[in-house]
Symmetry: C2
Subunit: 203 residues, 2 copies
């Protein structure tokens, strides 16, 4: 079994944090964006979409999508239950995990891809779209600060994959999308301190 990852990229990071929380260690091959090797014909046999991460299983099958890779390990190693333990928790985690992805992580990546010089000439950039997404983040960060008013973690009182997604969104925002947690967002800041100091945060 082997994980193909991409240095500095948000989706592989989600999987690496998830694996660290599950105490799984496995061989990882890191690609680099600059070299573009994951878009070469050899690698496209593994994932025709040319996206990372990709998990290659011992029987040669591949799982080509970050949350599906996490679910694969969750099926094999139930503890800790990062997708929720009870029926109700599983539904809450699904909702918050998807909210964190669609309302936070994807927009942050959009800001990065459409406004950052790193992508100039590599992908079509539409700066006006990046700015639109950047503008939406003010309201979203305030909403998440409110959500965290009466709970410890994003989906309730337990750390789950919803936190991992939000965590990677904040990292992306700070690193490449000109977005920081505003000073008066005290609940969000308290949550960020808790998640970013977990031993798995730098996986």
């Amino acid at each position: 079994m082997k994980l193909y990852s991409l240095k500095g990229a948000p989706n592989p990071r989600r999987v690496r944090i998830f694996l660290a929380e599950k105490r799984v260690s496995l061989p990882v091959e890191e690609f680099e964006l600059e070299k573009g090797l994951h878009r070469q014909p050899d690698f496209l046999k593994r994932n025709p979409l040319g996206l990372l991460p990709v998990l290659e299983l011992d029987d040669g099958r591949t799982i080509c999508e970050s949350v599906a890779i996490c679910r694969h390990f969750d099926e094999m190693i139930p503890e800790p239950p990062l997708f929720g333990r009870s029926s109700r928790e599983r539904v809450d985690v699904e909702m918050w995990s998807r909210h964190m992805e669609h309302e936070l992580l994807v927009p942050m990546i959009d800001v990065f891809v459409h406004t950052h010089p790193l992508w100039a000439g590599k992908r079509a950039q539409i700066p006006a779209y990046g700015e639109l997404r950047h503008g939406q983040m003010t309201e979203r960060l305030r909403w998440i600060d409110e959500v965290l008013k009466d709970r410890e973690f994003i989906a309730g009182d337990r750390y789950t994959i919803a936190d991992i997604t939000a965590q990677v969104a904040v990292l992306t925002g700070r690193a490449v999308a000109r977005l920081e947690i505003p000073d008066d967002h005290t609940n969000l800041a308290r949550w960020w301190k808790a998640v970013s100091t977990r031993p798995t945060a730098r996986a």
Copy 2:
């Protein structure tokens, strides 16, 4: 229990098809985009994001996200298993469901929102972004046609939520994003005929 839906919108449609496959019938309140009532303070108490669908449970709790609503019913009513039956199926469904969403449904909605006159003056439109997304669909539809070469449904030999998402993406493409299944995409056309003639397709 009550479902708040939005006439003609893709995400509520996903939930309605899912419920029909599970043979669940429940009261539905349909909003209309033109009236914008789901963005009024009264409704924002149910979902601060102002998005539909929303499921209101008998104890007053709300589930504000389409796939989370589907998962709620899947937890209560296991048959038919639209999220997969075995461990391996659940991982495959997760992967294909997310692929169909990120590679097909979300881009179709982006084309709609950023280029369709319906949204003029209602939301910020960046036509160049809509056109970029429109252009990406040619390659994506060819990829899905290839995926369907040796299997009956998107995630394997069983109809799942991945098909529902793809189905709603094709409907959105045809209705409002100037995208049709090309004539030479015979696998995709065969799949479309199968899913669009299911008794639940018009839910």
